[in-house]
């Protein structure tokens, strides 16, 4: 019995192709523009002329984020109705029968995971494709990745396989919610943090 599911994301291999995001939209019929998984572009650096030539310090990388099904899910803590809850296998999901759509979870979550389904006035979010999980299949986003940059599994097993990096610039500090996320950072993520790099595709996320 799995005690805590987690995602793995290899930022070094991600091309920002968004197959994960769109596979999720298709799987969950997110026709209204909700994105349970989003892909951020982080970029920075400068250009310098040297006579006729240009040199640069430009860098970029991508971070694909869904719900991290945190070990200390703040969305569950703030939910006034107990609609937001955590399954025995660690998957955090919302019971729309109980949800009143108050958005407290949305405001509390540092990852932007809970998103309101305006057509029914209730919250919705990544639920780790628990229906697929229950059938023994990978979540739609993981199965979609053309670069094989996403993986999933028991948190401890993933950490043994990939290490224990749990945040990368500009994601929040892991101490906040104890996210069940394992990361392989892009080589430029440290540089990004030091130079206060910006999100390059803000309008897309």
């Amino acid at each position: 019995m799995t005690r805590q599911y987690a995602f793995f994301f290899d930022s070094a291999a991600c091309s920002g192709c968004k197959a994960c995001q769109v596979a999720c939209q298709d799987k969950h019929d997110l026709v209204d523009g909700r994105r349970w998984r989003r892909v951020y572009e982080i970029t920075g650096g400068h250009w310098t002329p040297h006579g006729p030539a240009w040199t640069h310090t430009v860098f970029a990388y991508y971070v694909s984020v869904a719900c991290n099904h945190c070990a200390r899910p703040i969305c569950v803590e703030v939910c006034p109705t107990t609609a937001m809850h955590k399954r025995a296998d660690g998957i955090v999901l919302v019971d729309q029968e109980k949800c009143i759509g108050c958005r407290y979870c949305q405001w509390a979550c540092p990852y932007g995971a809970p998103q309101r389904d305006e057509s029914i006035g209730k919250m919705s979010k990544c639920h780790f494709c628990f229906d697929y999980i229950d059938q023994g299949r990978p979540p739609a986003c993981v199965a979609a990745c053309p670069m094989r940059a996403l993986d999933f599994g028991e948190r401890e097993a993933l950490e043994r396989k990939y290490g224990r990096v749990r945040t990368v610039y500009p994601l929040p500090r892991a101490q906040l919610t104890d996210p069940c996320l394992v990361l392989a950072p892009h080589r430029d993520s440290a540089r990004a943090e030091n130079s206060a790099a910006r999100i390059g595709n803000a309008e897309e996320v």
Binding site: C17, A23, W47, A60, P146
Partner: protein
């Protein structure tokens, strides 16, 4: 002979009248719960529905003319596609990796069930190009098209009919080959050769190697130690499904990867160790400077050059041409007085000389190494030169014919020809052929055109183009260069007298049609596709759902015309779409896939795909490498032709030199034109579209909004704000599009993804951002290819009051 039972007829019998708008709109919502639909075509598949009443069918991604070919798993309930997953075959090995679809395949429901799908045949009711149409019946539409074909044949002859280049459908029963077959039976049509993708590389590669089969199987990339991704962006334009995944693996095994590109592409970010920005159109200058470093520092593979090449220096010139300029003469500046030093190249490329030196030394020293040429840099003025220059670098570093190496050039795969449809077109009785890119010339002045403009088969064309039959093609307007000029040409009904367009949406080309015929998608008829450039696979398109409204397959439309033109049963040979798919499978079986399953097996086992795993990657020119005497190349000399006698004898050394050279483009940052239009613009391929397809898919527009990408320096000097609309213009046209300010493109260069649908306002300003309002119809000198990336523009703020 019994009349063929075509899919359309089966459908009509089975559930005519059930395709109501209610069902349609339910599909749009993605949550259809209707009375049990009709799995008309799936009964043979013997796939039992799940407890929820769903069936999962493995199917080829519609893909269109995508560089990939991926497997989808479609969930169908009540006759509606409710979900599109991707390749779920177990294993995912390097020899047979899963073919995981990208956003375009995964978002396909939003295209399949788009409210703008063409639903009925239409006839033009306004002026041509205005976009005013009235619904007509299929009988009226087909009668009219057949009558026009007959009339034009009668008045002018078959050579006045032309099917413009177009690759929007690719499933054997959908696509232009169905119309080619019809017209060939009808007496033929003006032929076309070349394409808008790789005209120069296809023409120039054989001048070096005698063949376009210059690639190694992709699994061989894992043997490489050093990979120059030169203008190549496989992470975004999908140059073969899994090319980027295999490069990731090559890197994991120790290859160093360097990306040379004006843009910091997704490939540069996710695959490369280093990004070298370079000014567009100057790649041949940098390649020449790298050769200069290798020659002057004695780092090239002199023994390979001696045994396998000709034309490198004065000791190995073709007989009778000993005194002509060799490659080394050019590089060292013996004749023109200009040594092609890194400093010389720095002024052109904006790449620091020290960087050029370092890359030359790395590429010469690290073995084996690949220089992979993307195709973007050959869709330019003198695009032939960069192709030959890249091939020569591969040759003089000795990377030809070895595992982990790469000969560069066209890079078709050894042992597997790309087929791109096996549907039999028949022979065209009209022998005249034009370079496809020159079709507007053939409209304006065909009878003046001869071999000097690339005409083949005749001395002079005997007609101007009078009838255009465009199928799965947006090249009539959107994808051809200089849209404003093309629109002006087509608006004149005394030139092209009749235009029929067959498509799935009212594209900007379809707006110029006299008759529009609605074609079904690859999900709505039987079809079959093979693995694009990197073959080894055949993927089935069983029909998943009924055609939208009155849409028909391209094949079925042609059968309707054949009946009217007296060409039945010669056209169909009594076959339905399904019969042709079965026929195609047997053709693949005879063409190197003896173990391909039958159609019945494909369906019974819900296979969707047949793959020949690549367990022993093949290497082009391995025999030649081992023994050039015993296994000569199919070149005149049998060797790698750094100097080409064929090109020399054309007598146009300024534009078609016998050794590869950097030639300043006809629009460049170095000419007078740069005073008014100082920015180079490249219309690259981005994730939103395959060319102009998928343009109207909302999920893709949200994921990859259509923007002009401009460097921070250039934006600052123009007072641009990120996300605000800008006007992009030159003497050929103007468009307005929001900009994105980014460091990921070099100063002096802007990028606008190609394929946005031309949307002119009342004064002719394009409001969507169709890059081809800015491009030029001028063609390249040797290949007669398109040079649509060679353009200079200016960008300014678009103030609200001005618009």
């Amino acid at each position: 002979m019994t009349k063929p039972r075509l899919l359309e007829e089966i459908l009509h019998e089975t559930f005519m009248g059930r395709r109501s708008f209610i069902k349609w709109s339910a599909a749009l919502g993605g949550a259809a719960v209707l009375s049990r639909g009709v799995y008309f075509a799936l009964e043979a598949a013997a796939i039992p529905p799940s407890a929820a009443g769903e069936r999962m069918i493995r199917v080829c991604c519609p893909a269109h003319n995508c560089g990939g070919k991926c497997l989808l798993t479609a969930t169908i309930r009540d006759g509606v596609i409710t979900r599109l997953g991707t390749d779920d075959r177990p294993g995912d090995t390097l020899a047979d990796p899963q073919l995981r679809a990208c956003v375009r395949g995964r978002a396909y429901r939003r295209r399949q069930y788009h409210p703008d799908r063409l639903k009925y045949p239409l006839k033009r009711s306004g002026r041509r190009g205005e976009g005013q149409f009235t619904r007509i019946s299929w009988d009226e539409a087909l009668d009219r098209v057949a009558a026009e074909l007959e009339r034009v044949r009668q008045v002018y002859g078959n050579s006045a009919i032309f099917v413009p280049y177009g690759t929007g459908s690719y499933s054997n029963t959908n696509g232009r080959q169905t119309v080619d077959r019809l017209l060939n039976l009808f007496g033929g049509a003006l032929g076309g050769y070349n394409n808008y993708s790789w005209a120069c590389i296809q023409r120039a590669t054989p001048t070096v190697y005698g063949t376009n089969v210059t690639g190694n199987d992709r699994q061989d990339w894992l043997n490489s130690r050093y990979i120059l991704m030169w203008g190549w962006n496989p992470a975004e334009m999908r140059d073969g499904t899994n090319s980027n995944f295999l490069l990731k693996e090559a890197r994991r095994r120790g290859a160093r990867i360097v990306c040379i590109d004006p843009r910091m592409t997704r490939s540069a970010v996710s695959l490369a160790d280093e990004w070298i920005p370079i000014r567009p159109g100057t790649d041949a200058a940098m390649m020449s400077a790298m050769a200069h470093v290798m020659i002057t520092e004695d780092r090239y593979d002199a023994s390979f050059v001696r045994t396998h090449c000709i034309g490198f220096d004065e000791t190995q010139m073709p007989s009778g041409l000993e005194r002509e300029e060799s490659y080394q003469d050019y590089i060292l500046g013996h004749r023109d007085g200009v040594p092609k030093t890194p400093e010389w190249a720095e002024a052109l490329t904006a790449v620091p000389a020290a960087t050029i030196r370092r890359l030359a030394r790395e590429y010469a020293a690290i073995k084996p190494a690949m220089l992979y040429q993307g195709y973007g840099m050959q869709r330019r003025a003198y695009g032939e030169q960069v192709v030959r220059a890249g091939c020569v670098l591969a040759a003089i570093t000795g990377n030809v014919g070895i595992p982990g190496g790469w000969a560069s050039g066209m890079a078709f795969q050894p042992g597997w020809s790309p087929f791109w449809n096996v549907f039999p077109r028949g022979e065209n009785p009209v022998k005249a052929r034009i370079p496809n890119f020159l079709w507007t010339e053939a409209v304006l002045r065909g009878t003046e055109m001869g071999p000097e403009e690339g005409v083949l088969g005749v001395d002079r064309l005997d007609n101007n183009i009078r009838l255009i039959y465009a199928v799965a093609s947006n090249c009539l307007i959107n994808q051809h260069a200089n849209i404003n000029r093309t629109a002006h040409i087509l608006q004149d009904e005394t030139r092209v007298e009749f235009i029929v367009v067959q498509d799935q949406f009212l594209t900007s080309s379809a707006r110029f049609a006299d008759i529009v015929l609605p074609a079904c998608t690859h999900f709505e008829t039987y079809g079959i596709q093979d693995g694009w450039k990197y073959g080894h696979s055949v993927l089935l398109n069983p029909p998943l759902v009924a055609p939208a409204f009155e849409a028909r397959s391209d094949y079925r439309i042609c059968v309707g015309l054949a009946e009217r033109l007296g060409l039945e049963p010669a056209y169909s040979e009594g076959r339905s779409e399904r019969d042709w798919v079965a026929w195609a499978i047997e053709t693949y079986r005879e063409s190197g896939m003896p173990e391909i399953p039958t159609l019945a097996e494909f369906e019974a086992q819900n296979l969707g795909i047949y793959v020949v795993p690549v367990t022993e990657p093949q290497v082009s020119f391995a025999d030649f490498r081992r023994n050039p005497q015993k296994h000569p190349l199919p070149t005149p000399s049998g060797k790698i032709e750094i100097f080409s006698r064929e090109l020399f004898e054309m007598g146009r050394p300024d534009e078609i030199p016998a050794v590869p050279k950097y030639i300043r483009e006809w629009e460049s940052p170095f000419g007078l034109e740069a005073k008014r239009f100082p920015l180079s613009l490249i219309g690259y391929h981005n994730f939103h579209r395959v060319h102009s397809i998928h343009e109207n898919v909302d999920w893709l527009e949200k994921a990859f909004p259509h923007r002009l990408y401009i460097n921070e320096e250039d934006a600052r000097s123009r007072g641009l704000a990120d996300g605000a609309p800008v006007r992009v213009y030159n003497d050929r046209g103007a468009l307005v599009v929001p900009c994105r300010i980014t460091g990921r493109i070099m100063p002096g260069v802007v990028a606008l993804p190609q394929g946005g649908w031309w949307t002119p306002d009342a004064v002719g300003i394009d409001r969507r951002g169709a890059v081809n309002v800015l491009t030029s119809e001028r063609w390249t000198p040797l290949a007669y290819g398109n040079a649509q990336h060679t353009i200079m523009v200016e960008v300014q703020r678009e103030d609200e009051e001005k618009s």
